[in-house]
Amino acid sequence: MLEIRDLRAGYGQSMVLNGVNLDIAHGTVTALLGRNGMGKTTLCRVLIGLLPMTSGTITLDNDSISHMAPHRLARRGLAYVPQGRSIFARFTVQENLDLGLSARGGRIPPHIFEWFPMLAELRGRRAGTLSGGEQQMLALARALVAEPSLLILDEPSEGLQPSRVTAIGDVLLRIVADKRVTVFLVEQNLALVRRVAAITAFLVDGVIAGGAAGRDLSPQSPLIQRYLGL
């Protein structure tokens, strides 16, 4: 269980997160929705240690991980797929996957190529030459190579065609079912959230303004109307 309590963070004097409280249950997909500029990416960056928090606490399975360096968090079992993917474009697919092993060493687990069969054929290709969908799959596979306990995804469906978004949803459902991975999914794609998330929280002006069961959400629901203005 990941517990976030009264988390405040920002950039210089500008505060973005103003007291976030959120529980992310083990072995589930918890989604976070919110308009642009509400602090979703900032929250992801704080969770993975790339942005220092001003105050508050983060605990993972009752151990404090507040203020932990990113590489230590990765070794603690956190994995991150940032918005825009951040694959290493000049490296090969194989090298990108090998980097995913930095946190724990060893070899690439064989199930990675069962989940992402197209990557097995693309191992020698430069990652920058892949399509957007293939790059997103690579970023997801690179994160899963480390066999994390908590996977943080920041808008994985951004800019992808619907078939690729469906494939991402398939992978998320599978890693939760097969590996009991906990997933924290920041998304704008309501259909994907409804399909995979057990719980959905809404971030408004840097605080959690409400929550609902993922499957209960529809474009017409009052929560969506209020917090996303769809």
Partner: protein, 285 residues
């Protein structure tokens, strides 16, 4: 045949200078590429490598053991510099330039105080010559070239073929993402400074028997090393060799026909042309 006998030793001299220059430049590139630090004290680390050999041989240490000790000693100095100075100036590139410039002055003056302002020398491990194709050439210079070439290839292989190198390249390309994947970026940067310092120390150790060792010797290698990097296209490891070949080759060969001042002016002109051509090609692509 006469032309070959004249040219071959000159070309071999130029090649040995190019390889030593490439070692110095490679150390600079490793430090700049991974840390964004322009290390103006790099020439003094080269100088410390040379003095390490002079001192060690003076204490009775065999020459080749002294050559092994020099990069270790200078690498240790590099580690201290990284911990005490560079790490504290992270993300402040202008400050690191000033700090390493100041460090260069401190190391030079420390060498003057410790060893005097004059030059020292160390005997070559062998005075033997190797004769091939009608020319005789000092065996030590051939050994120097072989070692320098081997270390250059090994360093490039370290970055291109190993997991350590992969993590280092990732830390250069996107330090945040590398850290999020489990790479200890700060440690990688510290290791890169140690490696860069050790390469400078090794280069200084190797040339100690063939040039005079004095507190100001580093500057004579620092400037062409920077020019080699610029002419070779920035931080590419492969480009270092090309840049060193252009700058070191011209510097070494022109010195045989021109006065030192004129040859240095020509080398600068060649560097400017190479940099302009590279910039034009980059803009075109």
């Amino acid at each position: 045949m006469g032309a070959f006998l004249t040219w071959a030793p000159l070309l071999l001299d130029a090649l040995s200078f190019v390889l030593v220059l490439a070692l110095v430049a490679l150390g600079l590139v490793v430090i700049f590429g991974l840390m964004g630090v322009i290390n103006l004290a790099h020439g003094e680390l080269f100088m410390l490598g040379a003095y390490t050999v002079v001192l060690a041989v003076g204490w009775g240490v065999p020459f080749w053991l002294a050559v092994v000790l020099a990069p270790i000693a200078v690498g240790a100095v590099g580690w201290l510099v990284e911990v005490l100075l560079i790490r504290r100036l992270a993300a402040r590139p202008l400050d690191t330039i000033l700090a390493t410039w100041g460090l260069a002055i401190v190391l030079q003056q420390a060498a003057v105080l410790a060893f005097g302002p004059g030059s020292r020398s160390v005997a070559r491990p062998t005075d033997a010559t190797v004769t091939f194709a009608g020319i005789s050439y000092p065996a030590y210079r051939l050994e120097l070239m072989a070692i320098a070439a081997l270390v250059l290839v090994a360093t490039m292989a370290l970055f291109a073929r190993t997991r350590v190198g992969l993590r280092a390249r990732a830390a250069i390309a996107d330090p945040d993402m590398a850290a999020a994947l489990g790479v200890n970026v700060r440690r990688v940067r510290a290791q890169s400074f140690v490696l860069g310092a050790a390469l400078a120390g090794l280069a200084g150790a190797l040339v100690a028997p063939i040039i005079s060792v004095d507190p100001h010797m580093g500057f004579g290698f620092l400037v062409p090393a920077f020019l080699s990097i610029l002419a070779g296209g920035g931080v590419s490891l492969g480009g270092v060799l090309g840049g060193a070949a252009i700058i070191g080759g011209a510097d070494s060969l022109l010195g045989h026909w021109m006065s030192p001042v004129v040859s240095q002016i020509v080398v600068f002109l060649i560097a400017i042309v190479a940099i302009r051509l590279r910039a034009a090609r980059a803009a075109g692509s």
